[in-house]
């Protein structure tokens, strides 16, 4: 049977009223729990899976699809409205999403996020349906050298996010890189800069840094400005959806975000920070109004949101074709498959095609359900901005605390959150950009680790980075990104 017939059969299994009910329950629960700060997609799925164990396999798989996409989706809401990203995938969304919400355009931001997620999720699921085996075999050709080159390319892209002052941008970047040094060196198991504190062995969670800098720092900064009688007028327009212009500015970022997010999601060393920020920087470069970025550019929400949902679908490619869980969420899903006697691995598709294709079909359905569920909610969520400012900021701090503590159940994390928050306030006062610090914390350790792995495997031969074609290509793109704008300027 060919793919289309199998897919049709999958849909035939999935499309009954009862199954649609389970799909709806799945997306609703997934979104509801995914919205909560500090509960990322992996924990959301792990918490909700026991509910499916009472169901027959097909209903359960349909609910899985809903929970998975729902959990991925939930994070953007708090990012946009409260500047408090619930997971790494929605950090990039917070930058312009929150700025839009403050200008009374929260509803437009939420709408472009919802539709972008739908578009990206659907396109990526189509790609997953037809090209999985091919993509998986390409992904396996990525070794440490390629990952190192990829992270260098991402570093080059950061250059566009350094902000007005090169010195300030670099300072922020090095701050992030330094924080990234803390914790166990993965290759040797050495503890570095952990000062004998066991909780620091695992490093500083990027979400602690982000919530501290973004949410707590912003609250302190606004309190400070309030004291200095610098009032910020918040235009409350209630529900204003996407205007015609918003649509025009959004559709290309949705498609580009999908194109970036899906392939990067397929790679077994995924993570959602690189795809979302690559999408963000590309939108900024391509935009006619790069100066709007950071101050409420809708492209800055549309692109990363599409990228993060496409990456979530991409993660399923190595999972379904090779049995490789490339994210914590995927590992939880894999364990759940085993509950139904599904052998995860390269034979998954051939051993129980009925279940796999039902799952794929339910991904399509889950995507539609998410849109149906979330579009009407946009108007309600957007009204959060109508809450009086004192209560809003009080709520933000409580949620930030809750999120920081829930990550690892550690008081140290909670304390760090507010220390970082104070730093975030100072950085705002001195006009130092926050984003480079976040990227430094994520990319620094990745680049170092992959570099050392590659060199260890090649026994000290540094030429691996330029003799392997994919690695060389990434490095060339990185050089072009850095030198290109400068060359163009000179020719003018």
């Amino acid at each position: 049977m060919n793919t289309l017939e199998l897919l049709r059969e999958g849909f035939a299994n999935a499309l009954t009223w009862a199954h649609l009910g389970w799909a709806f329950a799945g997306v609703t629960l997934g979104t509801a729990v995914g919205v909560l700060p500090g509960i990322g997609p992996a924990l959301t799925v792990a918490l909700l899976l026991p509910i499916t164990f009472t169901l027959d396999p097909i209903s359960a798989f349909i609910m899985f699809g809903g929970i998975y996409y729902g959990a991925m989706y939930g994070g953007s809401t708090t990012s946009i409205l409260l500047n408090t990203p619930g997971e790494t995938a929605s950090i990039a969304t917070a930058i312009d999403g929150y700025a839009m919400a403050r200008q009374g355009r929260g509803a437009a931001a939420l709408t472009t996020a919802a539709i972008g997620s739908f578009v990206a999720g659907t396109l990526a699921t189509i790609a997953l349906t037809f090209f999985s085996p091919l993509l998986a075999s390409v992904a396996l050709r990525f070794g440490p050298a390629e990952y190192f080159a990829l992270s260098i390319m991402a570093f080059a892209a950061v250059a566009t996010l350094l902000g007005g002052s090169l010195l300030h941008g670099l300072f922020s970047l090095f701050l992030g890189l330094t924080l990234g040094l803390i914790g166990i060196d993965q290759l040797t198991g050495d503890a570095r800069f952990s000062f004998g504190i066991p909780q620091l062995l695992d490093g500083i969670d990027v979400l602690i840094l982000v919530i501290g800098l973004f949410a707590v720092g912003e609250t302190l900064f606004q309190a400070w400005r309030y004291g200095r009688q610098e009032f910020e007028a918040v235009p409350v327009r209630g529900f204003v959806g996407m205007s015609r212009e918003d649509w025009k500015r959004s559709w290309k970022p949705w498609l580009r975000g999908t194109a970036i997010g899906f392939p990067l999601g397929v790679l077994p060393v995924g993570g959602s920070v690189i795809p979302t920020f690559l999408s963000y920087t590309i939108e900024k470069r391509l935009s006619d109004r790069p100066e709007e970025f950071g101050h409420g550019a809708i492209e800055g929400v549309a692109g990363p949101e599409a990228a993060n949902n496409a990456a979530a679908a991409g993660v399923l490619v190595p999972l379904l074709t090779l049995g490789l869980p490339s994210s914590a969420t995927a590992a939880v899903l894999l364990a759940a498959f085993q509950q139904y006697g599904l052998q995860p691995g390269p034979l998954l598709f051939s051993s129980r095609p009925d279940l796999v294709w039902t799952l794929v079909a339910s991904l399509y359905i889950g995507n539609v359900m998410l849109l149906v569920l979330n579009l009407p909610l946009v108007g309600i969520w957007a009204r959060v901005m109508l809450v009086p400012r004192p209560l809003l900021f009080g709520g933000i701090l409580v949620l930030a605390s809750l999120g920081a503590y829930s990550l690892n159940r550690s008081m140290l994390d909670l304390t760090l959150l507010y220390v970082v928050g104070a730093v975030g306030w100072l950085m705002r006062v001195y006009d130092i950009p926050l984003v480079p610090a976040v990227l430094g914390l994520v990319l620094g350790p990745l680049a170092e680790l992959q570099f050392r792995r590659a060199v260890a495997i090649s026994e000290g031969d540094l030429s691996v980075f330029v003799t392997r074609p994919i690695s060389l290509a990434f490095l060339l793109v990185a050089v072009a990104t850095l030198v290109g704008p400068w060359l163009v300027k000179r020719r003018r």
Binding site: L47, L170, A335
Partner: protein, 438 residues
């Protein structure tokens, strides 16, 4: 399924959820909390979640919430378990061989001697495998190549100091190569190491048999050896021993209770676990996850843990992981130095500029200090109260102070909102989702 059946199912799920919520209030003796000292998705987390299912489905424990405390091969969870759960008789933590490795590698101040062993549950043998296209056809090929040029063989496996690296060290030691010369490439998580092995990035891979089994069946990987003493029934993989490498090794998982529990608590926990391992749900799960039943308790378990600890300690010493210097090609200190020098240089330049700018005088002036100080007070009180007075009070104080900083005209409204938000989030997190809050 008809819509009526659907309605019945939906009702069952709903009732289940309500039961989950309502029983949480009654501190019933049947509640058993399970701590997985790892992130969701790993082996310890799976063990805890399978236990949760077996305990609840078999009615051995009415409620068995799982809590994840990830990090540093479980040693962060261990330290926290000893500190926060002392003398509690209703909690168990998943542990095992990898934690022994973590304790040595990360020089943990607390060890497995500080907790009460309850039972060894499962074991998993390790397999050494190569991609199907690899020129290494047998273990002998591997040993010959490894002896000739130890560095040319890269061994891919899980985190440093974990079971995979321990086995690599044992094998090197047994064939007469200094374990320090093993070119071990540590990966985090199953997906990452498996893709490096499948893609041929590393020469050989070490992993648990269960993780490799699907790939071996599909023929994408070829097994060179298994670490069991004898061949497993129905599994056509030669052992290390029969190929002349005198190593027998297994990655076991166990359960521990906090220190300071009463003998009665200990006896109760042991009987609960014994009932669980005999239940059909647990036995089915063992088969499904390819875990071996390795149930052991009492004094025999204590002796077993002691011997394993000595063995792990000695091989990790020979491998030279952790605090002892490693002979890796790129030392771990080069990059940190680079970053720190960069930070100092850029930092000094930025400081100089900030000093000259007008912003400094603005910050130094007291304008804006009052609301900021109020928020800061709230934060300090919040951190102080969080573990002493509980989350609800701490969060209420934080909310109230912050709200007052922005507008001081509505103290009562702010207080009501603060209490409502804090209570609502507490109920949602701690009661509905079973996530612990102070």
């Amino acid at each position: 399924m008809t819509s009526r059946a659907f309605a019945a199912r939906a009702r069952a799920v709903l009732i289940g959820t309500i039961a989950l919520v309502s029983t949480a209030h009654a501190q019933s003796v049947e509640q058993l909390r399970l701590i997985a000292p790892a992130a969701p998705g790993g082996g310890w987390d799976q063990t805890a979640r399978v236990m949760q299912q077996a305990l609840q489905r078999e009615g051995i424990a009415r409620l068995a919430p799982v809590e994840n405390i990830p990090g540093a091969a479980g040693t962060i969870g261990l330290a926290r378990f000893i500190g926060a759960e002392r003398a509690r008789g209703d909690v168990l933590m998943v542990s095992g061989l990898i934690m022994l490795g973590g304790i040595v590698t990360h020089q943990s101040p607390v060890t497995l001697r500080d907790v009460v062993p309850i039972a060894r549950l499962t074991g998993e043998y390790e397999v050494i495998a190569v991609p199907a296209a690899s020129p290494l056809r047998s273990l002998q090929d591997l040993i010959t190549a490894f002896k000739a040029q130890p560095g040319s063989i890269s061994w891919g496996g899980g985190s440093a100091g974990g079971s995979d690296q321990i086995l690599a060290g044992l094998v090197a030691d047994a064939v007469g190569v200094d374990p320090k010369r093993v070119n071990y490439i540590a990966f985090s998580g199953g997906g990452e190491s498996m893709s490096a092995i499948l893609g041929g990035t590393v020469s050989i891979g070490i992993n648990g048999f269960a993780e490799f089994a699907p790939q071996l069946e599909a023929g994408t990987l070829r097994a060179l050896a298994i670490s069991s003493a004898e061949r497993l029934p129905g599994v056509d993989i030669p052992t290390l021993r029969e190929q002349g490498v005198n190593v027998e090794f297994e990655n076991w998982r166990s359960l521990v209770a906090p220190p300071g529990i009463t003998p009665a608590d200990r006896a109760r926990l042991e009987s609960v676990v014994r009932a669980m391992v005999q239940s059909p749900t647990w036995r089915e799960s063992l088969a499904r996850y390819r875990w071996l039943d390795r149930y052991l308790d009492g004094d025999a378990l204590a002796r077993f843990v002691d011997t394993e600890e000595a063995r792990v300690r000695s091989i990790l010493k020979k491998l030279g992981t952790g605090a002892t210097t490693t002979s890796s090609i790129v030392p771990s200190g080069a990059y940190p130095r680079l970053v720190l020098v960069g930070l100092v240089l850029v930092g000094l330049a930025a400081l100089r500029r900030a000093w000259r700018s007008e912003t400094s005088s603005v910050v130094a002036s007291s304008a804006g200090a009052a609301p900021l100080a109020l928020v800061a007070t709230g934060v300090v009180l919040h951190l102080f109260l969080a573990e002493r007075a509980g989350f609800v009070i701490a969060a209420t104080v934080l909310f109230w102070c912050t709200a007052r900083a922005f507008d001081h005209r509505h103290p009562v409204r702010d207080a009501v909102a603060a209490l409502a938000i804090s209570l609502a989030s507490y109920v949602l997190f701690a009661r509905v989702l079973q996530l612990s809050l102070p």
